[in-house]
């Protein structure tokens, strides 16, 4: 397997959705190619970092204000349909 073929399958490698018969070729390539192994590992870390860190603040006060407003507007719709 060449790096270009490996990289074209990167998402399948990261999500582990590749076909079972490809596994051995993928593992062999990762073992011998340090660059591709780095790309796989650091891409996995990229995803993990974004999953673990809340980068958009949604404070409780804002949440409660929005929630109350949504439910008031829905209640108004319900009343108008009654």
């Amino acid at each position: 397997m060449k790096c270009t073929e490996f990289l074209s399958m990167l998402d399948e490698v990261i999500d582990e959705t590749f076909a079972a018969e490809t596994r051995e070729r993928i593992e062999r390539h990762i073992h011998k190619c340090g660059h591709c192994e780095v790309v796989v590992n650091t891409t996995k870390q990229t995803i993990q970092i974004y999953q673990c860190h809340e980068i958009i603040e949604f404070p409780t006060t804002l949440r409660e204000r929005l929630h109350q407003s949504i439910m008031e507007r829905c209640a108004k719709v319900k009343r108008s349909l009654a």
């Binding site: 582990e16 660059h35 891409t43 870390q45 990229t46 970092i49 804002l62 949504i70 719709v77």
Partner: protein, 220 residues
Amino acid sequence: MPPIQSTEVENEPHPDVALVERVRGGDLSAYDTLVRKYERQVFRIAQHITQNREDAEDVTQDAFLKAYEKLEQFQGNSKFYTWLVRIAVNESLMRLRKRRTAKTVSMDDDIETEEGFVPRDFADWSPNPEQNYDNSELTDILRKTIQGLPRGFRVVFVLRDVENLSTEETAEALGLSVPAVKSRLLRARLQLRERLSRYFRRPDGTLQLDAKRGKSPSGK
């Protein structure tokens, strides 16, 4: 590598199905439960698309209101959440169009047309690179980095990798084909990785893996 496991139990109805039925029957408290369950995610998605907090607040309210008003149109072929995300995405795009009246806005505005993306940075990252920054610095880096992605890539990454929608659900929510979602996800992941490498790479530029294997970094 572990075997792939489905997280869904086949033939078992999603818990939202019963809540949606109760709302259809006139029970507003069931809708309150659905709003509580998904308001954070909807706000995050809206903020990622509009890049504006006030717009995200308006979109969150409008999306839930529209979903409530149109609940009779929800067929139940998809999950309620996927349907709600689609409404939130459309509301976000409408909000952007309002802001830029002279310009059309779509999910594809700033996506380059050429296919493929080749990684250029092969430096290994420091072990636990997040620990080199305090929490607010790290949040800044992550926010700045993801904001730099084209919208069409950013939203696919957020839905698929942060909000954990499946590829098919992401495609449905964005009105894209599955191959288009896969292509955008790959490029989003690689571009984010490349950009984060500037902050997280090992200071000496060596491959930790090569050190582990006892060999010098390989050339390409």
